[in-house]
């Protein structure tokens, strides 16, 4: 079966971001960009399904600026077969992204769509679920285990109190949680080979999707800073401070 994986180019998770002085957003000039960590897990899961003989083809898609081709090449080096870039320089909300992905799903007809559970920049956790509503497919969000069995996929999900397993009819949508797998690294020969794999570029207009949004960002501020704390010398002093100064125990 065909598997479609959506990936996003985001600021690297180790970067401590800074808010711009004019409060228009976060300063992303000259900071390291990477594939969103949850998307890496999604690519890895698709590659493992292929290695098990479950998946026959892996198509990786991203929506973003031309530079997002780097992340698509990374996915190709990890084992995806071909890539699609929906090129847009606007900052798109999840609903617009879900609509663009729906157009790609209609064209590609995958049996399984794998996304990360959230992007670490916008922290929205929406796109997979929205794609579920638009396609009408079942959704297995926050997956820590995925097993394809016949025309169904069993997804074990991380929920607040523990784990829950659901069975979804295929085609279906899965969003990955951290513990689904440990993503591999791309080897140098595979990085070289990935340069020759097909990468199509399309525009939102060509897909017939409008990307207007009902939500706009008015300003972005730095969070309130915590006042500097003190270092105590002993456990006894710590207990004394907690009891008498902070009065929390």
């Amino acid at each position: 079966m065909k598997v479609l994986v959506a990936v996003k180019r985001v600021v690297d998770y180790n970067v401590k971001v800074r808010v711009k002085a004019d409060n228009s957003g976060v300063d992303l000039a000259n900071v390291k960009m990477s594939m969103n960590p949850f998307c890496e897990i999604a690519v890895e899961e698709a590659v493992r399904l292929k290695e098990k003989g479950v998946a026959s083809e892996i198509v990786v898609v991203t929506i973003g600026p031309n530079t997002a081709q780097e992340q698509l090449r990374t996915a190709l080096a990890l084992g995806a077969d071909r890539a699609i870039l929906v090129e847009s320089n606007d900052e798109l909300n999840s609903l617009a992204v879900a609509k663009l992905l729906k157009a790609v799903v209609d064209k590609e007809q995958p049996q399984l769509v794998i996304l990360g559970k959230q992007a670490i920049d916008s922290d929205n956790n929406q796109t997979g679920q929205m794609l579920g509503a638009l396609t009408g497919y079942g959704q297995g969000t926050f997956a820590s285990k995925v097993e394809v069995a016949g025309d169904k996929v069993n997804v074990t999900r991380e929920i607040d109190g523990g784990l829950q397993t659901v069975a979804l009819n295929l085609p279906a949508i899965v969003t990955t949680d951290l513990r689904l797998n440990e993503p591999r690294y791309a080897s140098l020969p595979n990085i070289m080979k990935a340069k020759k794999k097909p990468l199509d570029v399309v525009t939102p207009d060509a897909l017939g999707v409008s990307t207007t949004s009902t939500v706009k960002t008015l300003k972005v501020e730095a969070p309130a800073a915590r006042s500097a704390g003190i270092k105590v010398k002993s456990v006894a002093e710590l207990v004394e401070k907690l009891k008498n100064e902070a009065k929390v125990i």
Binding site: Y13, K16, V17, V26, L95, A98, K117, I120, D121, D123, N124, Q129, M130, L131, G132, A133, L134, G136, Q139, G140, F142, R157, E158, I159, D160, G161, G162, L163, Q164, T165, V166, L168, N169, A172, D177, L178, R179, S213, T214, V215, K216, T217, L218, K219, V220, P223, R226, G229, I230, K231, V232, V235, A236, L238, V239, K241, L242, A246, V248, I249
Partner: protein
């Protein structure tokens, strides 16, 4: 303006996060209706009717809603929600699972994890693991929003007397089925609602050593949490994880033991009132946010702390 709040519940009981969500709805202003969708959920509906400030409780009691499968619940909420100005749900694993599906069905954007209400259409939410706070404005006809519980003080669970009304919705969509669940059992307070949280990280070295934290937590009446490193190493189950991708807590006192303080962990606890860090590495980033830091070997400090409190 009428606001629909989706109740978080276990059929038999209402979850505390519902009270924080109603508090956010009260800040927006207008009539508040609560939807309890489940199977055999009369008890949860009764509890919802008692919440202070709730005008009406809608009950959708149907076997299809038993496990809150989004394929079944989202069409119900989207149908009912058309007549409302706002649809709110707690940013729990359930709320996050169902609500974006509702938003897409209504063809509107969703605003995730708000921490403050500026006005009926303007909200604040953290982005980049809490390293920036965005103020966002929605022009959608129906504003679909998830609420971060720690951003709002809960309303009183008693004192209201809302009318309870049964609603019927679409049945099983036939796309998904509940297979089973494994819930972690714990006698300690729930992590997201506890007044004191004691968390362990990689420095605990193994799962067995968490007994020191459990002993301290029991003495303090605290919940026990963990960093991602401790969960990934298999010391404790994943529902104990505090951070950007785990639970968000804001207790009165947060005691971080053997936790370095990575950005992703801080995202889950830096709104705690008082933060204590116990770590033997005095350069650990956790000390930059800790109100009280103790540079010490946790295996000596924690048992001593347990004796002294």
């Amino acid at each position: 303006m009428t606001i629909l709040v989706i109740a978080e519940h276990t059929n038999a009981a209402l979850a505390a996060a519902t009270l924080n969500t109603v508090a956010a709805a009260a800040k927006i202003g207008g009539d508040i209706h609560v939807l309890v969708a489940g199977a055999g959920c009369a008890a949860a509906a009764e509890a919802a009717a008692k919440i202070a400030g709730v005008a009406k409780v809608l009950v959708a009691d149907n076997a299809a809603y038993a496990h809150q499968l989004p394929e079944n619940v989202a069409p119900l909420v989207a149908d009912l929600g058309k007549g409302y100005s706002h649809i709110l749900a707690a940013a729990t694993s359930n709320g996050k699972n169902v609500l974006p599906r509702v938003a897409a069905q209504l063809d509107v954007d969703q605003i995730s994890e708000i921490i403050a209400v500026e006005s009926a259409d303007t909200f604040k939410r953290p982005i980049y693991a809490g390293n920036a706070i965005a103020t966002v404005q929605s022009s959608a006809a129906v504003k679909v929003i998830t609420v971060r519980s720690t951003g709002f003080d809960p309303v009183a669970a008693e004192g209201g007397s809302a009318a309870v009304e049964a609603v019927s919705g679409s049945a099983d969509a036939g796309k998904s089925a509940f297979v089973g669940e494994e819930l972690a059992k714990s006698d300690r307070p729930e992590l997201t609602a506890a007044k004191i949280v004691v968390s362990g990280g990689r420095g605990m070295q193994n799962g067995d050593n968490f007994k020191h934290l459990y002993a301290l937590a029991d003495k303090l009446g605290a919940a026990v949490g963990a960093s991602r490193a401790a969960v990934d190493a298999g010391f404790v189950p994943n529902d104990m994880q505090v951070g950007q991708t785990g639970k968000i807590v804001a207790p009165q006192l947060y005691i971080a033991v053997g936790i370095s303080g990575a950005i992703q962990h801080l995202a889950g606890m830096k709104d705690s009132k008082v933060i204590v860090a116990i770590n033997k590495d005095e350069e650990a980033p956790i000390f930059q946010v800790a109100d009280y830091g103790l540079v010490a070997d946790l295996f000596e400090a924690v048992p001593e702390l347990e004796k002294l409190v």
